[in-house]
């Protein structure tokens, strides 16, 4: 659906790249036409923001399902879809199909499987999948254990200038572990892997990235040791980027008490010191973006003994509210919060969106940052309510959302 009539949103607080200021935004032909001290043109549709934030629609980097109601609830207008689909996104036709699957009111940017069937061994047709619309390459939920394969993958990706989205856990250490080694896992009798499994994987992939010149993005970096490695690589001027989901800056492995499978995640929840390290890394810019990791899982996957349950959480609806807690805790300011969930992921995907600026796609969210609500797993828009934040009171809701200038 195309935008029929220009729209001007007035009386808002504009969330710009470097500041928040009072003003308006004018949207025409699906693009942001003017920002700032703007007055509606005759014939415009006019929306009064009543002091709410006029923010870019969220760009969710690395989701496992196209779950529109949840994304729209969370103010998400675009998402990078992980290749771990059924069937796997490892051939151009599937990539082309999913790239269209959300339109018009939601855009899916496919991440192509790095290897056929995500087997970690045989390279997939990455070049053809790029032509079909892939915006990056991903190793999926797993690490590629074979360093030789990883080297060749990164060489190839560098040649195609596609970002490689890595899962950073040394599989030899993690095995079938369901938790991070520590007192909590020991008390619960859960098989556990040392948190260092992440640093090992990150260290290798950074070394290979520097060797090949490939752009590497670690979808989730969740431990102090691995964050130090990313920080050091960035200091050397390398194009390594890192993401995280709210689970790892909001929760620690204490959330595993009572074998709560909604807290079964991959990578698993870490200890408190790592949670604090993640918050520090968000504050100092080591972490570039925050994503929901949206992975709705019904009772058939979650109403199981902890270790047998599938990892993953439904995170789309709670992403913005959780990031806004970082603003209230003065870890980051508002412009940075929206850069973490919109600007940075849009740049990584190389799409003209994720910012309130003239010439951008008109993906715009109206946000009441203080609106209180209670996260309730039974009343979620997502196709499943597996949120580790169940029952938690929070603040911040999207009150209106436009995709390409059209209200959704």
């Amino acid at each position: 659906m195309k935008q029929r009539r220009p729209l001007t949103i007035i009386n808002g607080r504009l969330v710009l790249a470097d500041r928040v200021e009072r003003g308006a935004v004018r949207i025409a032909d699906g693009m942001i036409a003017d920002v700032g001290d703007v007055t509606p043109v005759n014939g415009d549709e006019v929306m009064d923001a009543r002091g709410q934030l006029i923010a870019p629609g969220l760009v969710d980097f690395g989701v496992f399902a196209v779950d529109k109601p949840a994304f729209h609830f969370g103010g998400i207008t675009r998402a990078a879809l992980m290749p771990d689909q059924s069937p796997v996104l490892d051939v151009p036709s599937r990539v082309r199909y999913v790239a269209q699957s959300g339109k018009p009111d939601f855009w899916v940017h496919p991440l192509a499987a790095a290897t056929k069937g995500l087997d970690g061994t045989n390279l997939a047709e990455i070049g053809l999948m790029r032509e079909a619309g892939a915006r990056g390459i991903s190793t999926g939920r797993q690490w590629i254990g074979d360093s030789g394969t990883m080297l060749r993958l990164l060489q190839y990706a560098a040649m195609l200038d596609l970002v490689v989205v890595c899962h950073a856990e040394d599989a030899g250490l993690t095995g079938s572990a369901a938790a991070t080694a520590g007192e909590m896992a020991t008390r619960l009798g859960l098989s556990a892997a040392p948190a260092e499994a992440e640093a090992l994987a990150v260290a290798r992939d950074i070394a290979l990235a520097e060797l090949t010149g490939a752009r590497v993005h670690f979808r989730q970096v969740t431990t102090a040791a691995a964050l130090d490695l990313v920080r050091a690589a960035k200091a050397r001027g390398w194009g390594v980027t890192a993401g995280v989901t709210p689970a790892h800056f909001m929760l620690s492995d204490l959330a595993l008490a009572d074998f709560r499978t909604f807290a079964r995640l991959s990578p698993p929840l870490r200890q408190e010191s790592d949670r604090e390290a993640v918050r520090a890394a968000i504050a100092d810019g080591t972490i570039d973006l925050i994503a929901s990791g949206h992975d709705p899982r019904g009772p058939e996957d979650k109403r199981l003994p902890f270790a047998d349950a599938a990892p993953g959480m439904a995170g789309a609806e709670t992403l913005l509210a959780m990031v806004l807690t970082l603003v209230r805790d003065e870890v980051i300011d508002l412009p940075r919060a929206f850069d973490l969930v919109s600007g940075a992921p849009a740049r990584l995907l190389d799409v003209v969106a994720g910012e309130i600026a003239t010439g951008m796609e008109a993906d715009v969210a109206l946000v009441d940052p203080d609106k209180p609500w209670i996260i309730d797993s039974r009343e979620m828009e997502a196709s499943a309510g597996n949120t580790p934040f169940d029952g938690q009171p929070t603040q911040g809701r999207v009150t209106a959302l436009w995709k390409g200038g059209v209200l959704v």
């Binding site: 859960l190 003994p305 047998d308």
Partner: protein
């Protein structure tokens, strides 16, 4: 000894349902010290009964107990079956091999199916940590955890405490608990639910617990449970009052944890020579099944004056009778236990 005889009006713990307010017995971790002592004291009457020629009581007559074992077991299953039958209950055993679990039925559906048959208690063993709590959440009757993964095996922890208390009392110790006692547990701590339940139970009762294992079999962060850890068995044994040996749970091991049983025996096997480093009359325990010649030598396991391994088995039946008795009191309308809502005082 008189102070150790259980009496319903003693002030060791609150009376009636308040003495044991839990519907289920899922782990030692859920129990207060006085609740542990209550179950131990309750078991004493069954120890006495079990030593009579006629070992029958009709307390649970008419009740149905399902032993749902999703993991193989011989001794624990037998112990629970005997416990139920001696209390007069109808006991049914369900083995995983015979169940529709193999046909893809989920654990929750199995639980709901069992529940629909109106059992009065379900005893569950499952290979996955937390599985028993998951089932307990879906059924209407008391649930006893007979071992869930590497998490807990509460009746084993309790029976070990009871066996130890009996042995100590035989030697003239008067205490209720194990304050001041040093207990060394050696073996595959990582995979052992018995170790976890014993750590929780023994530390709650005041013992100093030492754990000893090769590093790969020692779970991370277990010192947080109030124990000291050793990798050198000789150091761990030094002056210990009780030595509890655990077997290697090779069936739970992913990959190789020790080079060979022979080498394991060399470093961690309890021999007579090694035992000499413990306190002069140190007691020897083992939850079974034993691998003689690996973690324990036969001449240690069979020491009449020191090994209480067979007594552990004996106490197992009594503890399980106590657990079944206590947990079904509400359903049986035992005075002081009937009110489901607030616990009432006798």
């Amino acid at each position: 000894m008189t102070s150790t005889q259980h009496s319903p009006h003693s002030n060791r713990y609150p009376a009636g349902r308040m003495a044991f307010p839990h519907r289920d017995l899922l782990g030692i971790g859920q129990l207060e010290r006085h609740e542990i002592l209550y179950l131990l004291d309750e078991a004493e009457q069954w120890v006495t009964l079990n030593r009579q020629p006629s070992k029958h009581n009709d307390a649970l007559a008419g009740m149905t107990i399902i032993n749902a074992f999703f993991e193989n077991s011989t001794r624990t299953l037998l112990s629970f079956e005997i416990a139920g039958k001696r209390l007069g209950a109808d006991v049914v055993n369900m083995h995983a091999a015979q169940s529709s679990v193999k046909k893809g039925e989920t654990l929750i559906d199995t639980a709901i199916t069992l529940n629909a048959m109106h059992p009065d208690a379900i005893v569950i063993r499952h290979a996955s940590s937390g599985a028993v709590a998951l089932i307990a959440d879906k059924v209407d009757c008391p649930v006893i955890n007979a071992g869930d993964g590497s998490h807990e095996h509460p009746t084993q922890g309790l029976l070990d405490a009871l066996a130890l208390r009996h042995a100590l009392r035989q030697r003239g110790a008067a205490g209720d608990d194990f304050t001041g006692l040093t207990i060394t547990i050696c073996g595959d701590i990582l995979h052992s639910r018995v170790a976890r339940s014993n750590v929780l139970c023994l530390t709650a009762l005041g013992a100093n617990v030492r754990l000893c294992a090769p590093p790969a079999l020692m779970p991370h962060g277990i010192a947080g449970m109030g124990v000291t850890t050793f990798t050198n068995f000789d150091a761990a044994l030094d002056g210990a009052d009780v030595v509890m040996m655990l077997r290697l749970q090779t069936e739970r091991m992913e990959g190789q944890f020790i080079p060979s049983p022979r080498e394991y025996h060399h470093l961690y096997g309890l021999t007579k020579r090694r035992l000499a480093q413990a306190a002069p009359d140190a007691l020897v325990m083992h939850p079974g099944p034993m691998n003689r010649g690996v973690e324990i030598d036969s001449d240690v396991a069979d020491m009449l004056d020191r090994s209480i391994i067979t007594r552990q088995v004996e106490m197992g039946v009594a503890i399980r009778m106590a657990a079944l008795d206590v947990l079904t009191r509400t359903a049986r309308g035992v005075p002081g236990w009937a009110n489901k809502g607030e616990g009432q005082w006798v």
